[in-house]
Amino acid sequence: MKAWVHKQKINLIVSRVAIGHTLATLALGIESTAHTFGASVMSSSGKILSDVREVYRGPEGSGIHPREASRHHSEVAPGVLGRSLREAKVKVSDLGLVAYSAGPGLGPCLRVGAVVARSISEYYSKPIVPVHHAIGHIELGCLLTGARDPVCLLISGGHTAILAEKSGRWRFFGETLDITIGQLLDQFGRFLGFGSPCGPRIEELANRGKKYIRMPYTVKGNDLSFSGILTFSKNLTKSERVEDVAYSLQETAFAMLCEATERALAFTEKKELLVTGGVAANGRLGAMLDEVCTRQGVELKVTPQRYAGDCGTQIAWAGLVAKKSVTPENAFVRQSWRLDQVEIA
């Protein structure tokens, strides 16, 4: 299964349709990695024609149940797909390609998106492009912010990584050694009885915190470990105000992220920092990263909130950028798929 993409027959996509006066390829992007089922139509000129999504929400205090989430996805899939095409005012036959999120993510959820993509591809004879979910975040971030050659801080429930492009691949300049920043916020939030995603709730609590409590601060080289903070915070709620714990958790975890990011900026000497992923929405982290960029003389580019989280658009765009299609019977999903294994154009 290793490097399976490269073993497939790679077809370059040439199918183009006329839109107005310009020739552009239309792509349908299907996202179903975790809690979101999304479908989006994008043109190769970079225009987003539609972006429709439905988000699975578990009961308060619990996370994403993979089976329940995949059931949710299969229930909403036809509706989301239909709305996406209607809003974009295109027919399936207008599409130049179908891109789907092939991993990494929750297996049952990924399979829903892959099945939808394969069906369309097979029935309408459209090229099908498997997309790495995180590459989607990065590519869309670059498009929307105009970043050309950034250091990328990818912070979500599935990823916490500091990346930069080198020799045709996104390289890790630091990443989490255990749980992601999104998981830290979610798992602590769920411990307090919130439903995922908990980021906004934790931020709200933290804004009311006053006292800073020392927590495990773990930066190994440029890699980070958040699991110590999680255990420590859970225990701390027995003796301290939750607001203060949330505040200290954010301060500590974000300081680690900022420190590692600053080091990557200093090391690579790049001039832009692109921030993307769901946690990019956090205001405190944004302010801290702003200060990091000022110190390093770097431009801060944050993916607009609507497109920082999971969406079909990121998949459509990454599909248009990659243009490497496979045959439908080879359109697999991979629950674990490392970012640095993907060749980028």
């Binding site: 290793k2 020799s167 050694l177 930066v219 080289g221 300081a255 600053e262 080091r263 900026l265 490392r338």
Partner: protein, 209 residues
């Protein structure tokens, strides 16, 4: 008169005079984005630990900058100015075996119970014909296989930025040197590196394997 030569993420590196000798001033400046309490703690803790570990490394025969003065009040270390290109920018063609020497130095550090914490090729300087290891800012004392292996893993990560063939060659040389520097029990540490990679998020397969 001091002059800023590098604004690092960790500290500012200034070049100046200390009693007529050219010297490096490593100043850990306050990071405004951090909570002041956390910032103060990290700065003074790291300054003191760095100075201690530089001395210990030197005592164990690892070439690192000589210490002149440590000031905890403003988190400053004054030390020898090591002028030369970074290993990152040096071509190791010919028979210089720089990566072997790098491995040897890291091996010696580990044998002395010091984990460097940031063993990138930017932190090794070619000074005349000797290699000098800098920046003990993230170093700590440990004798566990795990901590040593994390150090090696970091080296591997930095080297894997190169093309696959170069990476394999350099990493092999590095390990050769490491085994000599550390001594007989190094295999266990090297074996642990693979485990660490597998533990990382999403199964890793770097180009070296």
């Amino acid at each position: 008169m001091t002059r800023l030569i590098k604004r690092g993420a960790e500290a500012d590196i200034l070049l100046g005079k200390w009693r007529d000798i050219q010297a490096i001033f490593k100043v850990r400046k306050s990071r405004k984005y951090m909570h002041p309490e956390l910032d103060d703690l990290l700065r003074s803790q790291r300054t003191l630990r760095e100075a201690e570990l530089i001395k210990e490394a030197k005592d164990n025969g690892v070439r690192c900058p000589r210490l002149y003065f440590v000031n905890l009040e403003d988190s400053t270390i004054i030390m020898e100015y090591v002028k030369g290109p970074r290993l990152k920018d040096v071509s190791d063609e010919g028979n210089t075996n720089l990566f072997g020497i790098m491995g040897n130095m890291l091996g010696k550090l580990h044998r002395s119970g010091i984990i460097h914490g940031d063993p990138t090729t930017s932190n090794f300087i070619l000074y005349g014909d000797e290699l000098v290891v800098l920046d003990f800012g993230l170093s700590f004392r440990s004798n566990t296989i795990e901590d040593r292996a994390v150090d090696l893993h970091l080296v591997k990560e930095v080297l894997s930025g190169d093309d696959p063939l170069e990476f394999r060659r350099k990493y092999a040389k590095f390990l050769e040197g490491y085994k000599v520097g550390f001594g007989t029990a190094s295999d266990e540490t090297i074996g642990r590196v693979k485990q660490i990679e597998k533990r990382g998020r999403y199964a890793r397969s770097s180009w070296g394997e």
